[in-house]
């Protein structure tokens, strides 16, 4: 549909008003006075019968004139000369109206000043419709027109845009609303999205965030997550293409967690919180749709894991005695940030008896040694999610996070004779040269700790990783959240 053509008078005065504005009501007699002088056109935004004082008022319920004139406040009074606007005022200010209209002494009985009201054409939900109608969205993405009888939800499945669950159809209006969540230019290139290294713009991020079900407030977090995942150190291509289980796991730190009501407490890694659920999903949809990373294509996962739909949670910084995860990567406490970790699933660490940190650390270490296979060391990095009741034990004993990491690393030293192929009746393992040596389950710096979960239950969790290769594999990456 072509953009509307709006014809404005070349010369004279234009007023834009609405019934639902006390200042507009106040100025109704003034509009009548100016009409009597001649040369005033009055456009009404909400009620064609307003103002009754002006019989020749013009219906602008479609708001095409208001939008063309870029009216933001009503009443607005504009003077045009030779087809151009030469002066404008808004609200009621007698001196201003006298100056713009060229008539003195108008509105004699009125107060000297009253502020105006917001114009209908710039209301949220309305402005987006007008930008679309006037083809002024600035959005560059290809428009996909659905057939008249085509179901919009089914259409997204049929075009291969879904992760298997329904997505919110990315209409222009929804994408424009999503983009209000950031100050960044929709055309800005965020990076090159693996696996196809396709150009990824802020606009494409917003489209996929709409589909994932995000609110505009989440968009800065999604953008930070994408930037982290696209950092070559994270190796998103490898994380996607591997036959192993992993996908991007997102941990959010800083004030943004509470601003968007993320869950860091009970069931933090589970279902039920919109921000947790949709931010992780948006990243995966971007990899799928923009990067072209699809299961059984470049995604060669043997089993995958349910977290590849979405895997995102917040750290419970307020309830923790430790520094947030983001500080391990150089981001100051109190700064919002997202960390991406190549991880899978959740292996429980159930320990309801340990009341001293030594016992609990041993319990955790034995569980950590089982990741991938008890015969493999080092096997992969890991993210240990410590629950409140376990953290309490370390807190009461004065163990810092660094102390716990140090103890766990020491406890994860494994004699090579337990790891050699065939030992314990398991063919998996290493060649005979490991016998008599010690190997650690983790590379130095390959274990990370985050604090989350509900107040009841001595149940921590281990998020296993992909490789132990450090820079040759995948490193966790943290990015600050910026507006």
């Amino acid at each position: 549909m072509p953009a509307p053509q709006v014809t404005l008078p070349a010369d004279g005065l234009i007023a834009v008003v609405k019934r639902d504005c006390p200042t507009c009501e106040l100025t109704a007699p003034v509009l009548a006075e100016l009409t009597a002088h001649g040369g005033l056109m009055v456009f009404t935004q909400d009620d064609p019968s307003f103002p009754e004082t002006v019989p020749d008022r013009i219906d602008d319920l479609a708001l095409n004139v208001s939008h063309t004139l870029k009216v933001e406040i009503v009443p607005t009074l504009i003077r045009r000369v030779d087809g151009r606007e030469v002066d404008r005022t808004h609200g009621w200010d007698r001196a201003e109206w006298e100056r713009v209209s060229g008539f003195q002494g108008i509105g004699a009985g009125l107060p000297a000043f009253r502020p105006g009201c917001g114009a209908r054409n710039v209301e949220p939900g309305v402005i987006e419709d007008l930008l679309i109608r006037f083809e002024e969205t600035g959005l560059a993405s290809r428009r996909v027109e659905l057939g008249e009888d085509e179901d919009e939800f089914e259409a997204t499945f049929e075009r291969g845009w879904s992760d298997g669950l329904p997505v919110v159809p990315p209409t222009q209006k929804r994408v424009l609303r999503m983009l209000t969540g950031t100050l960044r230019d929709p055309k800005e290139i965020v990076g090159f999205c693996p696996p196809n290294l396709a150009v990824l713009t802020v606009e494409k991020v917003a489209i996929n965030a709409v589909m994932a079900g995000c609110k505009p407030d989440y968009l800065p977090v999604v953008l930070a997550a994408v930037e982290a995942a696209l950092d070559p150190a994270f190796s998103m291509h490898g994380v996607l293409a591997t036959t192993m289980f992993v996908g991007p796991v997102l941990v959010v730190n800083g004030p943004i967690r509470r601003q968007i009501s993320m869950n860091a407490r009970g069931n933090a890694l589970g279902q039920g919180n919109r921000a947790n659920a949709t931010i992780g999903r948006a990243l995966q949809l971007i990899i799928r749709n923009v990067g072209g990373g699809r299961p059984q294509e470049v995604d060669r996962a043997t089993l995958g894991n349910p977290g590849k739909y979405t895997y995102c949670f917040a750290e419970d910084e307020e309830g923790s005695c430790w520094e947030p995860l983001s500080t391990d990567f150089g981001v100051a406490r109190g700064v919002s940030a997202v960390t991406v970790f190549a991880g899978f699933g959740l292996q429980g660490v159930v320990d309801q008896k340990s009341r001293d940190p030594e016992s609990l650390a041993r319990s955790m270490a034995e569980s950590l040694k089982a990741i991938h296979n008890v015969k493999l060391a080092p096997s992969c990095d890991a993210l240990l999610v410590v629950c409140p009741e376990h953290e309490r034990t370390f807190r009461n004993a004065g163990w810092s996070k660094a102390r716990l990491l140090e103890e766990l690393h020491r406890l994860c030293e494994i004699p090579g004779d337990q790891l050699v192929a065939g030992a314990r009746g398991i063919a998996e393992g290493y060649g005979p040269s490991v016998v008599g040596t010690m190997r650690n389950k983790f590379r130095p710096g390959g274990l990370f700790i985050v604090r989350a979960g509900g107040g009841a239950g001595m149940f921590s969790g281990i998020i296993g990783g992909w490789s132990s290769g450090g820079a040759a594999g995948s490193l966790p990456v943290t990015r600050e959240v910026k507006s």
Binding site: L139, S141, R142, R143, V144, E145, L146, E148, E150, E152, A155, T156, W161, P169, P170, T171, Q172, V175, C193, N196, A198, V199, L200, K204, I207, N208, M211, P232, S235, H237, G238, T242, T243, L285, N289, V290, G291, G292, W466, S467, G469, A472, G473, S474
Partner: protein
């Protein structure tokens, strides 16, 4: 009519044509790319022997890590030195 914005990179309809496969390898230089997967060398060593026996020139390459795509300099080197590439994708 519902209008949606395309969430993809909009490259989907542009299918790339594959290069024409050579009828024979004689006279060509064959690159063998080891992607650093365990035992990939066993497979490629055997190919090396068989191709060399046929008088075909073989050049060997290796990715630094299986976890990442081959670095651009290595890709450029391979393109500049051989006519075809054989790589073992799995262990």
């Amino acid at each position: 009519m519902t209008v949606l914005l395309d969430p993809t990179s909009e490259q989907s309809p542009a299918s790339r044509e594959r290069l024409v496969r050579p009828d024979k390898l004689e006279g060509l230089t064959v690159g063998l790319l080891d992607i650093s997967k365990p035992r990939g060398d066993v497979f490629l060593d055997r190919l090396d022997t068989l191709l060399t026996q046929r008088g075909i020139t073989v050049k060997r390459y290796m990715k630094p890590t299986v976890a990442k795509p081959a670095p651009l300099p290595l890709r450029n080197q391979i393109v500049g030195e051989v006519n075809v590439v054989i790589e073992g994708l799995a262990d």
